[in-house]
Symmetry: C2
Subunit: 197 residues, 2 copies
């Protein structure tokens, strides 16, 4: 097998912390060279991020205090998958809860891995169009400013290094390639889904 | 203050797990509305990723098994900051240890946040040119295939969703904008540093 010299095999492990949010594991792995090593990581259910675009091209975004970083971050709406929840349903739920918007058209862009050294998290990025405004329904402890930003403004923030959230930067990258054939082809394979909650 | 309605304040906390790699905290925070909430997160020293470009334009990359994801990932060389280590020194060290290459010219691109919901990690992205090959010196338990990839190949992988590591995708985004004025201006502000280890 092509990657046999890289692949590690679990030979034991335990959950070392289970909080209200974080599930932390510590496994012992057998390396391909016969040695062993310890791998510590977060088990994460995965997340969905939505890039919601109004008919006039403006993007629906959020400003939220991120405690671990001690700063307010500008991000697209996102949230964790619930048990058994399909990604599209998660995106629709999070968009509605956090911003109040519902969308008529949905298209999947990609799936990214944001902390491959220590988290199982994968984030699916979806595009949402045909937006209709409504009332947010935030969870306890979730304080969010919803704002409308143009792609030009976002691009300027990224160029100045003031937009630093990885999922938001990668969604911007996809947005800027929407006109190019490579991405257009991909989105055509997974066509926009007409869907209302 | 503009963001007073978003900012959370620590009113207590504890380290809930300290492993060989992960440092996990659980804090109680006061929300702006007077309520309290729990915030669990990883304290991470930060990391540096290097985009090393050969004179012929090919990029030096790594294939590495990422245990948390259970798959081999294609990434640019990266590693964690040691205590008190400047970012440039970290990039030079990680590039040499993992790939054997040393670089004559270095330029800082940006700083990204890859898990703002639960980690303090920030990743600085640097460009390295004027490469000279050498011998890698990998840590115990670090098994890496070094490979050379063209920007065209990388772009095709990204468009097909086969390149999913966030720091690598964002470095590709910067690479593709190097010709544009916005990025050229920024790199001119922080000029290429001639530096050998």
């Amino acid at each position: 097998m092509k990657d046999a010299h890289l692949i590690e095999r679990c030979i034991g492990g335990t959950q070392v912390y289970r909080g209200s949010f974080l599930d932390v594991r510590r496994d012992i792995v057998a390396l391909p060279d016969g040695q062993t090593a310890t791998r510590e990581y977060i088990v994460h259910p995965g997340a969905v991020m939505v890039l919601p675009m109004l008919d006039d091209g403006r993007l629906v975004m959020e400003r939220q205090y991120r405690y671990a970083l001690g700063r307010v971050m500008l991000e697209f709406p996102a949230g964790k998958l619930e048990a058994g929840e399909p990604a599209l349903a998660c995106g629709q739920r999070e968009l509605a809860e956090e911003t109040g918007y519902e969308a008529a058209e949905w298209a999947r862009a990609c799936r990214i891995h944001n902390a491959c050294a220590y988290s199982t998290e994968g984030i699916e990025i979806w595009f949402a169009r045909g937006l209709r405004a409504g009332q947010p329904a935030l969870d306890h402890g979730e304080l969010i400013d919803v704002c409308l930003v143009t792609e030009t403004e976002l691009d300027a923030l990224a160029a100045r290094g003031e937009l630093s959230d990885v999922k938001t930067l990668i969604a911007l990258q996809w947005l800027q390639k929407m006109a190019s054939r490579s991405v257009a082809t991909r989105l055509a394979v997974e066509p926009m889904t007409a869907s209302r909650r």
